[in-house]
Symmetry: C2
Subunit: 209 residues, 2 copies
Amino acid sequence: MPIDWDKLTDEQPALAVIPRGLRDATRTRVFKKGELLYRRGQPPKVMLCVLSGEIRLVRFALGGTEIVLQRSRGGFVAEASLDAQTYHCDVVAATDGCLLQFPRATFQSTLENDPAFNHAWIRLLAREVRRLRAQSERRSLNSAADRVRHYIEAEGSDGSVILNQTRKGWAAELGLTHEVLYRTLRQLRESGDIVIEGERFSLSVPMDT
Amino acid sequence: MPIDWDKLTDEQPALAVIPRGLRDATRTRVFKKGELLYRRGQPPKVMLCVLSGEIRLVRFALGGTEIVLQRSRGGFVAEASLDAQTYHCDVVAATDGCLLQFPRATFQSTLENDPAFNHAWIRLLAREVRRLRAQSERRSLNSAADRVRHYIEAEGSDGSVILNQTRKGWAAELGLTHEVLYRTLRQLRESGDIVIEGERFSLSVPMDT
DNA sequence: CGTACTTTTGAATCGCATCAAATCTGGTGG
DNA sequence: CCACCAGATTTGATGCGATTCAAAAGTACG
């Protein structure tokens, strides 16, 4: 069954940058919770983009402790595998879901021969770096309220952000338990520090008189 | 005074990828603690790479609260500014230091015309994404011991890492206070979970018999 | 209508941050 | 060479806030 790219680019705007030739070489792969998708040490033959569900890049330390290097609930994964000789970790499915597999060689040659795609890919990576740096900075804040404020300021614009996920999901992204997020939101709302209108969260100007 | 690139690439390996033509167009800028280096809203004319000291990308929320989007103590900064129309935040110096300024236009044209540099830049960004994802994942762990173990496994190889910074600096990178890191290291050492030999930290295999 | 999941609140606990202080270290200048 | 100083390292005591466990009400979906 051919891939419906029009529909995909709606859900996953990052995919809009993929040019025709590369699209035609792309395959989907559905996965079941717990499935081991790729194994450490194997040469990476494909580039991944998660469409639904959650996958994790993990390493098992001596003794069997699982170390999660990355979890993805959407978007490209393991961008560095484009140049790696082998996978540096295992890829496992945390839920049922579906992903895209771009043949590595095709991806690389498209990157070399399609200037527009090349540029778009660099921009995509740069944006991801920025997003991750901000997220990392945010997680270094130890107060739940500070993280919420930081999120609104950093991920939104003009001190206001529209949330397009559940609050439980937001809590996970903030590195908080959902209970604490709910409590914090209530306190921030009651103290007048933020205004909540549906899915819109705004930092309010403090009364300075 | 010309820039000593040989010396720089020793300290900052990322700079090795910069080709001749771009190097010649690069200028250094020294800065003092507290200095405002670039202002939000200005069109970015240069690409930055911190050589020494610390700079921060910050936004000021309504009411004057400072939101740190990124702090850099070495390496490229604000990679996304290559494509941005304007800076999305202020750049301020947190300490005295020094940075490199690559003219944006030259950087961009070199990226377009020098395939080797193009490829190296993509690899650099991809690696940074991987590093940041791992760091982000690590900071979502709430236990100090887990973060230490995660760091050793993720940033080292074969369950062993050599630290090339002070422990105080390491604590900051882990998102912990230095006091907690010292305490945690002692506990992990005394319980036999890790082995410390100078600057080498190793996860030890649990006695399973 | 029932089931699964999200949202919301409560109470108890644990661990990190904080404040304080002592020792150790490397580097500077007398 | 030694005195001195700034910063790193190390340990202690205390309090706060996030986690955790528990439970109820709301909501979307088949």
